[in-house]
């Protein structure tokens, strides 16, 4: 969003202000003020005109200017009504050198999760992919997956959902006390780099937000089903703010993750490329790996799918 438009929005949200006043304060022509106001109205900012001047009545929009307005995190937003995959678009931007951009789409036509699994992404959900260029090693990258999970679970809880985290990257809602759950969020972290230096990292986050769980794959739930619809603009803003908070304070990620973890203390089965492990999930390390206590001793798990088992 350009600086003049940002300044106009700031003035309008503080109460009525006349066109001439705005033009004087911002040192632009009255015609320029009028043009910016019309463009903001086109972007679904509700701007009321009265004898006292213009005033911002609300933002009932889900688009780039609306998400950038009031966002307290250093991301620019690229919004699409429809996109095959926000991660694919983010990868193209990353390859072109982009930094701190969030790609947001109302719907994805070819959304995908880990291991190239299909991810249902109809209009009404929150589909966002964040491009970062963190100064970390690839070995530290799993922390960003945990940070994405913590940020998303935190914001879902603010929306009234009892969101918890299943290792490493599933934000879920528990059903009963046996470790059962329904899936609320999918996270896909992709990256490129040298072996000791990440070049870019993309945190792809998909939230079943204002969707009927009936229309989603089996085992899924939605914010709508758990707590009612949310303002997606605010949800994305809070998500970016929390993500930024944790990426700038990586030491805080694992403790926050543990507070939200549904996996710790559970009996789990983990499928790894090298074979299957069954045991109790007892800890998460600083680099984001899971420690599982098995009959043959403690095993550190850094990759694989984790399934919760019923207690014996």
């Amino acid at each position: 969003m350009n600086e003049t438009r940002r300044a106009i929005l700031a003035a309008l949200s503080d109460g009525p202000v006349s066109g001439p006043e705005l033009a004087d304060d911002l040192e632009v022509s009255r015609a320029a003020v009028w043009k910016h106001i019309e463009e903001l109205r086109d972007a679904d900012f509700e701007i009321e005109s009265s004898p006292n001047g213009y005033e911002l009545a609300g933002v009932d929009a889900y688009n780039a200017p609306a998400i950038e307005f009031g966002l307290e995190a250093p991301f620019s937003i690229e919004y699409h009504d429809t996109l095959e995959s926000t991660n694919d678009r983010a990868r193209d931007l990353a390859a072109d050198g982009a930094v701190d951009v969030a790609v947001v789409a109302d719907e994805q036509t070819g959304g995908r999760g880990r291991l190239k699994r299909e991810w249902s992404s109809p209009s009404g959900g929150i589909w966002v992919s964040i491009v970062s260029r963190p100064e970390i090693t690839p070995a530290q990258a799993p922390l960003y997956t945990l940070a994405s999970a913590v940020a998303t679970a935190t914001v879902a809880r603010e929306a009234g959902v009892d969101a918890r985290i299943k290792w490493p990257n599933d934000v879920v809602v528990p059903v009963g006390d046996d470790g059962d759950y329904r899936k609320l969020v999918g996270i896909l972290t992709e990256m490129e780099g040298e072996t000791d230096r990440v070049e870019w990292l993309i945190a792809g986050i998909g939230v079943n937000a204002n969707l009927d769980a009936d229309g989603l794959p089996e085992g899924a739930t939605s914010v709508r089903n758990e707590a009612g619809d949310v303002d997606r603009r605010t949800f994305v803003q809070r998500l970016l703010e929390e993500f930024d908070r944790y990426r700038t304070d990586l030491d805080a990620v694992v403790p926050a993750w543990c507070d939200l973890a549904l996996t710790l203390g559970q009996r789990v089965r983990v499928e790894r490329p090298s074979g299957e492990i069954v045991g109790e999930a007892v800890d998460v390390t600083e680099s984001g790996t899971l420690e599982v206590e098995t009959d043959d001793g403690r095993v550190t798990v850094s990759a694989g799918d984790c399934e919760h088992l019923r207690p014996i």
Copy 2:
């Protein structure tokens, strides 16, 4: 190389064989045999004709068919007389799904090393980038850098050069006993993937082979200066064979690396994103990180440039 041509070469290297015999054995026409022989001669295979038939006198070539002929490792070769960067070409191939391809160029016009530093790559050197799709986590990827260094140092030693390894990825030739050295090889490992799964990995290896050290950047040496010129075809074949040996036996990498390491036991200064460390390099871990004993205790180093210091 196609199967018929491979079979013809195998027959020719076992001694003289006539065109009609070849045609019968391989169940192709005599005209087809003649066409393959001509194409092999075009690719610089020295094929002699005598009354007893055809015979392979030698391979005096540096191109794809020549490198693939006799190669005991599962790589196909893509050869270019000139290329901007073998790693860039390998990245394009990897993005298109390639697996186990080695890109070889006689010269690179825009060769680059770590941190996008320029890497001088004139005709006469060995510039090769190997595309793999290993089933490892990004945290294990540094092992591939060590494997590249071990493979290259091993083959350089076979060529008569006293090659050693400076952590993590420099193959060097020692000068005196104080930890001084000249650089023989550059290695640039690049990869892409999810945070717990490598999608592709490129081992880029540049060897100052048949080059005058005078024409190279300061501090560099060459195989020519240390031990005389090598047959680049054989060098690349042995390099791919050793690389394949270590990538299929990752447990063997660190012990082999330690045997060749110039860094262990040295006083080093390591520049890391988080600050500078000075101490004695005492060990390398299974995942390829360096352990440095400092005045404030032992520190594990996973990224950064490592400079050898004179003993106190």
